[in-house]
């Protein structure tokens, strides 16, 4: 592990030293850069246009949306779609998603770091076996658990309750893995001092180690927030009570004819827009953590 860290560090340094040595870019290099821009601009258009059209359409009338789907200007401009959305169960779905996401995120941050810390630092009997079991869990494809999860929720009698929505999501093996890796990178001497002062293991963990783990905690927070906010299959199998529908499940039902006749594209676009906003806000706010979140493993080695 330490070998790979050193090698990647060396190559990073050599990237840094190579740059000042480089002479001015040749014409060919400029041409290549120009072509790269063309590709990127076309690509960015393809990637962003659907979001732009989504925003524009949510402010259109039904007939404008069907008649001028390409237009990026709503004419007439109306917030009727949002008003109608408020008359549906959308506010309830939104509230349910907020509740579930808050509990799941808090639970994952706490339990993942507890387990990650124990696996990284406490040399208890059976530690290796526990870690292997958690790694094995990562290999189970989530979708095959749909039916099984329903069976358990039903058997233990919490089907159609909030706990059914929350409990199974409360821990994730990948999060434990990320936290373990992070704790291993913190120098052990910091904890030794606290322990010599007589602090208990939990106190050491809570007031000394955890505050140092801020970047990893933010990564876990983001992954959990995004994961539970966007989760669909689990909510489908965990309840059928309309009162417990979350945003994903509720908004998905908007397509299956619950709105009566017509496409009502402005309404569905408004729903899609509103459910994207919280994730988008977190994304733009904590973007650098998203990016490291996606590739942290690569840097950790």
């Amino acid at each position: 592990m330490s070998t790979s860290t050193t090698t990647s560090r060396t190559s990073h340094e050599s990237v840094g030293t190579a740059q000042p040595r480089r002479r001015g870019p040749s014409n060919r290099a400029l041409l290549v850069a120009f072509l790269a821009y063309v590709v990127l601009v076309v690509g960015a258009f393809v990637y962003l246009y659907p979001f732009v059209i989504q925003i524009a359409t949510s402010f259109k009338t039904d007939s404008d949306a069907t008649g001028n789907p390409l237009s990026l200007v709503a004419d007439p401009f109306t917030i009727a779609a949002f008003e109608r959305l408020l008359e549906t169960r959308f506010p309830l779905w939104f509230a349910n998603s907020v509740i579930v996401t808050l509990f799941v995120t808090a639970g994952r941050v706490f339990f993942n770091s507890l387990a990650g810390y124990a696996l990284a630092r406490i040399k208890f009997r059976g530690r290796e076996a526990v870690f292997s079991a958690i790694l094995a869990v990562l290999a189970v494809p989530g979708i095959i658990l749909l039916i099984p999860k329903f069976l358990v929720l039903n058997t233990i009698g919490i089907y159609n309750t909030y706990p059914a929505l929350i409990l199974p999501l409360l821990v994730d093996a990948a999060g434990v893995f990320i936290m373990k890796q992070f704790f291993e990178s913190i120098p052990v001497s910091v904890e030794e001092a606290a322990r010599i002062d007589g602090a208990s293991t939990f106190r050491t963990f809570w007031s000394v180690v955890l505050p140092m783990a801020r970047p990893a905690l933010i990564t876990i927070t983001i992954l959990s927030f995004q994961g539970s906010w966007n989760e669909l299959p689990h909510f489908i199998v965990a309840s059928q009570d309309p009162e417990l529908a979350t945003l994903t499940k509720g908004v998905a039902s908007l397509t299956s004819g619950q709105l009566g006749s017509g496409n009502q594209f402005p309404l569905t676009m408004a729903a899609a827009l509103l459910m994207t906003l919280p994730v988008a806000a977190v994304f733009f706010w904590l973007q650098r953590y998203f990016v490291t979140g996606g590739t942290a493993g690569a840097e950790k080695g």
Binding site: S4, H12, A18, A36, L40, A44, V46, Y47, L48, P50, T57, P69, L70, F111, L114, I122, F124, R125, R127, E128, A129, S132, I134, V137, L138, A139, P141, G142, I144, L146, I147, K149, T155, L170, V171, A174, V176, F177, V188, T201, L223, G227, E231, L232, I236, V237, L254, T255, N263, T268, A272, T276, V279, A280, F283, V291, T295, G297, A298, G301
Partner: protein, 403 residues
């Protein structure tokens, strides 16, 4: 896997910190340490055990039973039916097998096209973005990555609008003088259309030789359909949403490509393309394999988009095993068969990914020592990335958010 080490052994292998310290010297504290350790991991173990291990065991039982969804699956009235549910999927003539085989066919074409497309696009975007002369890299990286973090449900709704009969795409095609299909109602297979266009066959009157040959409940003609027009919209959506994440993985790997070797190759007269092929690509190999593995795992589990956009239609051409399993269980109460489908799907994913890992391992041994050393150096990276990316992607494309 289940090697239980004594504490002293474990600390000897980890070896990063000195064996002294208050917790390690006093023998009486070892007991405490065990208790605290287990206490710390117990919430994780309880949740994973209760909602992962137990469910799998229960579902395994259900897949061998005739449980119909009423009461407890362990009640005395529920019968053990042996392999019946599995044979209904794989060998017995009937609707169940033809549904399952249709879903396998659909998903096979889906994987076959989506995995290469997302890998190639992601690599392409990463290489372009890695150009040192570029400004505003952050903007483009954000633009390409953003779809990956948004909800599959929201994106599916947007695509329903884009590809509606008189939606954005068809209106755009209209301007170019092309009459676009009614995407979500179009069950015609792309291979059928392609063969028709090339004059191999008439899609309206397929060759009798192909329609009369039946393989596993579907005619050869049906097997050869390719993805339907409707399914191809879902494929476009998924390529569009997953490329960003894979691009980030490739970008991270590209940062590590030794610049001096690349420069040396260029000085020696290698063209840009040659140095890319000889230096960059081999370096990216572990990432490439990771991306393909994640792609295979994700694409065999496609569910959300089918649930929101097509519910398996038109003409069952967007049925996938994951969705079929869900609908057999929750809509028609055939829990045994549905559970059996889930296990067959698991087996497929397991076999494909193990096969791929095996191929990777074999090739590494065949390569020269230098590559071997390099590969050995990369593998811890690979494991970490795999684990981590499963976290990211599990949430995004496979619906395995609970893991």
């Amino acid at each position: 896997m289940s090697t239980v080490r004594t504490p002293s052994e474990a600390s000897a292998t980890t070896g990063t910190r000195p064996p002294e310290g208050p917790l390690r010297t006093s023998k009486g504290r070892f007991g405490d340490r065990n208790a605290v350790g287990w206490l710390f991991v117990s919430p994780t173990l309880i949740v994973l055990g209760l909602f992962l291990f137990v469910p799998i065991v229960m579902a395994l039982w259900v897949s061998f039973s005739d449980w119909n969804g009423r009461g407890s699956p362990f009640a005395g009235t529920v019968g053990f039916v042996g392999l019946d549910n599995y044979t209904r999927l794989l060998t017995d003539e009937g609707l169940t097998r033809s549904d399952f085989m249709t879903s396998m066919r659909n998903n096979f074409y889906y994987v076959l096209l989506v995995v290469p497309a997302q890998t190639v696009f992601a690599l392409f975007l990463a290489v372009v973005l890695n150009n040192q002369l570029l400004k505003a890299k952050g903007f483009f990286r954000t633009a390409f990555y953003f779809p990956s973090v948004t909800s599959s449900v929201a994106i599916s709704l947007v695509f329903l609008f884009l590809f509606a009969g008189t939606g954005v795409v068809n209106t755009g095609l209209d301007l170019l003088g092309i009459d676009g299909p009614i995407w979500f109602a179009d069950s015609r297979g792309l291979l059928h259309l392609l063969g028709d266009g090339l004059g191999f066959w008439d899609a309206g009157a397929p060759p009798a030789g192909l329609t009369s040959t039946s393989i596993l409940g579907l005619s050869a003609w049906q097997w050869l359909s390719g993805p339907s027009v409707a399914l191809s919209v879902i494929m476009m959506l998924v390529v569009w949403t997953t490329t960003g994440t894979f691009m980030l993985l490739f970008l991270a790997a590209l940062q590590d490509v030794p610049v001096e070797v690349e420069e040396a190759a260029r000085v020696d007269g290698a063209s840009r393309w040659q140095s890319f092929k000889a230096v960059t690509l081999p370096h990216l190999r572990p990432t490439m394999l990771l991306v393909i593995t994640l792609g295979i795992i994700g694409t065999w589990q496609v569910f959300d988009q089918v649930y929101v956009m097509t519910q398996g239609g038109p003409g069952k051409t967007t049925l996938t095993p994951a969705y079929l399993s869900y609908s057999y269980a929750f809509e028609s109460g055939q829990w045994g068969v549905a559970a059996a489908m889930a296990f067959v799907l698991f087996l497929i994913i397991f076999v494909l990914t193990s096969l791929q890992r095996y191929v990777l391992r074999d090739k590494d041994e065949a390569k020269d020592r230098k590559l071997e050393r390099q590969a050995a150096r990369r593998r811890p990276d690979l494991e970490a990335r795999r684990a981590h990316s499963t976290a990211v992607l599990g949430n995004q494309q496979s619906g395995g958010g609970s893991l």
